[in-house]
């Protein structure tokens, strides 16, 4: 089986699967259990400056977006950074690193945006023997109101400045963890790079209000009658995280800046997708909090089998393999023409494609009766190949798109050449 050994900015781990900084990495007990289960590394739950630790609410911290079968689609939390004394955490980090030298231990940090605060904590972390630090510029609630977390991450100049302090006062590799609560994540990533970051990790949680309890007419989780926005994570955020990872991976200004991907990774497929789109390793939080550490088995096994099936000897061949497929809309080939098609043998006659197209799209599907049975057919004259019917068809492989080649598109009456023509070259584009 393919070798999963990972080397992320000089930090080695037996596999590229780390646990993200969060409750699963809050203390030695959890981390040891994770290592026993087979996790390659952890980013220790974020440490704050020395002194009385922060205080968490004692009411509910989480709320959940469920599927109908109560599967966890999204998780929201209002937890802060570690609420245990700094010294306790540092001692435990040192001990675990000694006992598990082959695993990666990165320490997440969040202290006030003052040089002295960073200068004070960095040597203590280095003394533990940890492999690196991750700067938590992402936490969207509780800490940002105190001038930390997302409130730093949202200002590129601060990101650059703090990163530079860390590089100055510590020899440890620096990973900058980015907040998704911005309009364009590339600005934060570029700032981290300018500050000298060894890598970026993304994403932290997304500002969210999960739901309104319709009995109490109060937002959830409700703490003594009131709630506040939290941070959203879990499977639902994966598409958002993927977009951000891809944006940084293909940004010319960020070339050479490794990415540790986080956000909704639940299994080997998610992890593999993230690596293909440019991440060098991945971090997991919600999936572990949903099922426990044992999910690592599927991740390790699935990824190595995948690499084998693609004849990729190591992770290097995978990382970034899908990046060239990402482009801007204006460069998509406008002469690539597809039409929907229905495999009548697989069709179960639910009529969903028909009603979706009829009510909400292009009226390109007909509903008739053939031999007393419902029958649905694509009308190529109207079909724009939008993929809605294929997307909502409940039967796998029943509907698909067929590419037109050297034939007339009956919708436009034009011959399909397939010859590459993008918007920048298109006659309708006033700028072309």
């Amino acid at each position: 089986m393919a070798d999963l050994t990972a080397n992320f900015i000089g930090i080695k781990s037996p596999n590229p699967f780390w646990l993200a900084s969060a409750p699963p990495t809050d203390k030695a007990y959890n981390v040891i259990r994770a290592f026993e289960a087979g996790w390659g590394g952890v980013v220790w739950k974020t440490l704050g400056e020395d002194g009385p630790p922060v205080v968490n609410v004692s009411g509910p911290r989480y709320d959940t977006l469920y599927g109908k079968d109560r599967s966890v689609i999204g998780l929201n939390n209002i937890e802060l950074i570690t609420d245990r004394p700094l010294e306790t955490n540092l001692q435990e980090i040192a001990q675990v690193k000694r006992d598990w030298p082959d695993r990666a231990i990165v320490v997440s940090l969040m202290v006030p945006c003052e040089e002295s605060a960073w200068k004070a904590i960095l040597p203590k972390v280095e003394d533990t023997g940890a492999d690196g630090i991750e700067l938590n510029f992402g936490c969207p609630h509780g800490m940002s109101e105190r001038g930390m977390g997302a409130s730093v991450g949202q200002v590129p100049e601060y990101v650059e400045m703090v990163t530079a302090w860390c590089k100055h006062y510590s020899r440890l590799p620096v990973i900058v963890k980015l907040t998704p609560n911005i309009t364009d994540i590339r600005h934060s990533a570029r700032a981290a790079k300018r500050g000298g970051a060894d890598a970026v990790s993304m994403i932290n949680t997304i500002n969210s209000i999960m739901s309104v309890d319709l009995n109490q007419l109060a937002i959830t989780p409700t703490v003594g009658g009131k709630g506040t926005h939290g941070g959203y994570c879990g499977p639902a955020v994966k598409p958002i995280a993927m977009h951000m990872v891809a944006d940084v991976a293909r940004d010319p200004d960020c070339q050479g800046l490794p990415i540790s991907a986080i956000g909704g990774i639940s299994n080997w497929r998610d992890a593999t997708e993230f690596m293909a789109i440019g991440a060098s390793n991945v971090q997991v939080c919600t999936a572990a909090m949903t099922y426990g550490f044992k999910i690592i088995d599927d991740m390790v096994d699935g990824l190595s089998r995948f690499l084998d099936s693609k004849q990729m000897p190591s992770l290097d061949a995978l990382v970034g393999a899908a990046v060239p497929s990402v482009t801007d809309w204006q460069y998509l080939n406008l002469n690539y023409v597809v039409k929907a098609q229905i495999d009548q043998d697989l069709c179960i006659k639910c009529g969903r494609c028909y009603i979706a197209c009829e009510d909400t799209s292009h009226q390109a599907i007909t509903a008739t009766q053939v031999n007393g049975e419902r029958h649905y057919e694509i009308n190529d004259k109207e079909c724009v190949g939008c993929n809605l019917c294929v997307s909502i068809c409940p039967v796998e492989d029943c509907m698909s798109l067929r590419q037109l080649n050297s034939e007339v598109d009956t919708r436009t009456g034009k011959m399909v050449s397939g010859e590459y023509l993008n918007w920048t070259q298109h006659p309708n584009n006033p700028m072309s």
Binding site: K68, D69, R70, I348, K349, C350, G351, R352, A367, P394
Partner: protein
């Protein structure tokens, strides 16, 4: 006759399958055939529905319930809305959820079957919605202002009640003439006990009657203490919903001997028994017939402790009116089903039946006659329409021995509608009787408003 009473219903003996029986208040009772879904299972099951366009299940339902819509409401935590959708088309949605042969109706048409998957459990979801709404005391219907018209209905079964309810909604006054002491027809006296637990038939009747303006007169038997012309002159329109009263005869000598019984009569006793252990049950039971009644009586007597129960049907499995699922239900309750067996002789000793002689009707086999020993023989070979007007002053057109009606359920007699088991073309199901009642009510309403086409 050797009567095996069943004092030890609740204790397992070799011959007493007792998983279908439980003790309630010290009385032996049947237990649920298909346990209801709890809220969570209902959510999960409802989420499987594809919400088809122009869904085939709607078409497959004789009452045309908008199945995808009610299922979607369940999945969105709105069981009351779901119940309203169901009851709007089928006021007996509760009974139908329990008694419909869904495997040949809505669930058979489910597109999930085409995927080789299990159909959505529409029946159980319908039950979840209607039970939840009824338990919460939710009602959905109001009466329109009084029309001043009055309609006489004969028979308080599914057809009669459905018609009455719809007419009341439309603002009319209704009188139901019912020969028995309880309302509900075969819901109360006929459906298998394990489908209708906890006095459901009566609870549903109350729920339906709560609309008001429905006056039910028990003990009024058409052709006995009241005549059709009396009813006609007292009302502006008449709906006949008297089901099938008489029982078909096998046509063999000895049909009146002890131990030979009409299945429907016996089920009626069974349904009314307070304590099932007091009911006489044979030791070797032979049921003649191949429909739902045959399945029901066989399964119920077996559950009640009969040692051997055999259904003898004169044709093959595929010809049986009982669905494959129902046949399987009986078989898993240790009932033997014998096909191609036609009774030719009842064996009687001292006026008591002791067995039945059969000849084989199997066209592929050449078998000799054989005898099944029996101390109880049930006739479950269908029922007949009783004469409606004994004096024959009012003559109805019949078809296959039942009343002929048009699509609006009008009989050949002006001002008289009919529906349920007493009409021809019916499929002898509760759900169809409900639909007949609904259609007749709509037609009567149109007629009374003078917009008759």
């Amino acid at each position: 006759m050797k009567q095996v009473t069943t004092p030890n219903l609740l204790g397992a003996t070799d011959n007493t399958p007792n998983e279908g029986i439980s003790s309630v208040g010290g009385h032996a009772q049947f237990t649920e055939m298909h346990p209801p879904l709890d809220a969570r299972s209902a959510l999960v099951e409802s989420d499987r529905c594809y919400f088809c366009f122009d869904a085939p299940c709607i078409e497959a339902c004789p009452t045309g319930i908008d199945v995808p819509n009610f299922i979607r409401m369940i999945s969105n935590h709105n069981p009351a809305g779901a119940a309203a959708v169901i009851l709007q088309e089928n006021i007996m949605g509760g009974t139908c959820a329990r008694a419909c042969p869904v495997e040949t109706l809505c669930e058979q048409s489910c597109v999930r079957n085409k995927e080789g998957d299990k159909p959505i459990q529409i029946g159980l979801l319908q039950r979840y919605a209607t039970d939840t709404a009824m338990a919460a005391g939710e009602t959905f219907f109001t009466r329109e202002p009084d029309s001043g018209y009055s309609i006489g209905i004969i028979g308080g079964g599914p057809a009669g009640l459905s018609c009455a309810h719809r007419l009341a909604m439309l603002g009319h006054q209704v009188v139901i003439y019912e020969s028995r002491q309880k309302t509900g027809g075969l819901n109360e006296y006929g459906l298998a006990a394990y489908k209708m637990l906890d006095n459901f038939a009566q609870r549903e009747v109350e729920y339906i009657m709560a609309i008001g303006n429905i006056d039910i007169r028990h003990g009024m038997q058409l052709g006995d203490n009241i005549s059709l012309s009396e009813i006609q002159s007292a009302h502006d329109a008449v709906f006949l919903a008297l089901g099938l009263g008489a029982c078909n005869m096998i046509g063999l000598t000895g049909e009146n001997s002890q131990g030979v019984q009409d299945a429907v009569d016996y089920i009626r006793q069974l349904r009314q028994a307070e304590d099932l252990s007091q009911l006489p049950v044979g030791s070797q039971v032979v049921v003649i017939g191949g429909g739902m009644t045959a399945i029901d009586i066989a399964s119920q007597t077996r559950l009640l402790g009969a040692r051997e129960v055999t259904i003898a049907y004169r044709r093959g499995a595929e010809n049986m009116k009982a669905s494959v699922k129902e046949q399987e239900f009986a078989q898993t309750h240790d009932v033997r089903i014998m096909h191609w067996a036609q009774p030719v002789k009842l064996l009687v000793e001292q006026q008591k039946v002791v067995g039945v002689e059969f000849k084989s009707t199997d066209p592929t086999a050449n078998q000799e006659n054989f005898v099944l020993q029996a101390d109880m023989v049930f006739k479950a070979i269908g029922q007949l329409l009783e004469p409606i007007d004994a004096n024959r002053n009012i003559q109805f057109e019949l078809e296959a021995g039942r009343l002929r009606v048009d699509v609006e359920r009008r009989t050949s007699q002006f001002g008289i509608w009919a529906g349920g088991d007493c009409i021809s073309d019916g499929d002898d199901l509760t759900v169809s009787a409900v639909q007949d009642g609904k259609l007749a009510a709509q037609s009567i309403h149109k007629f009374l408003n003078g917009t008759r086409d």
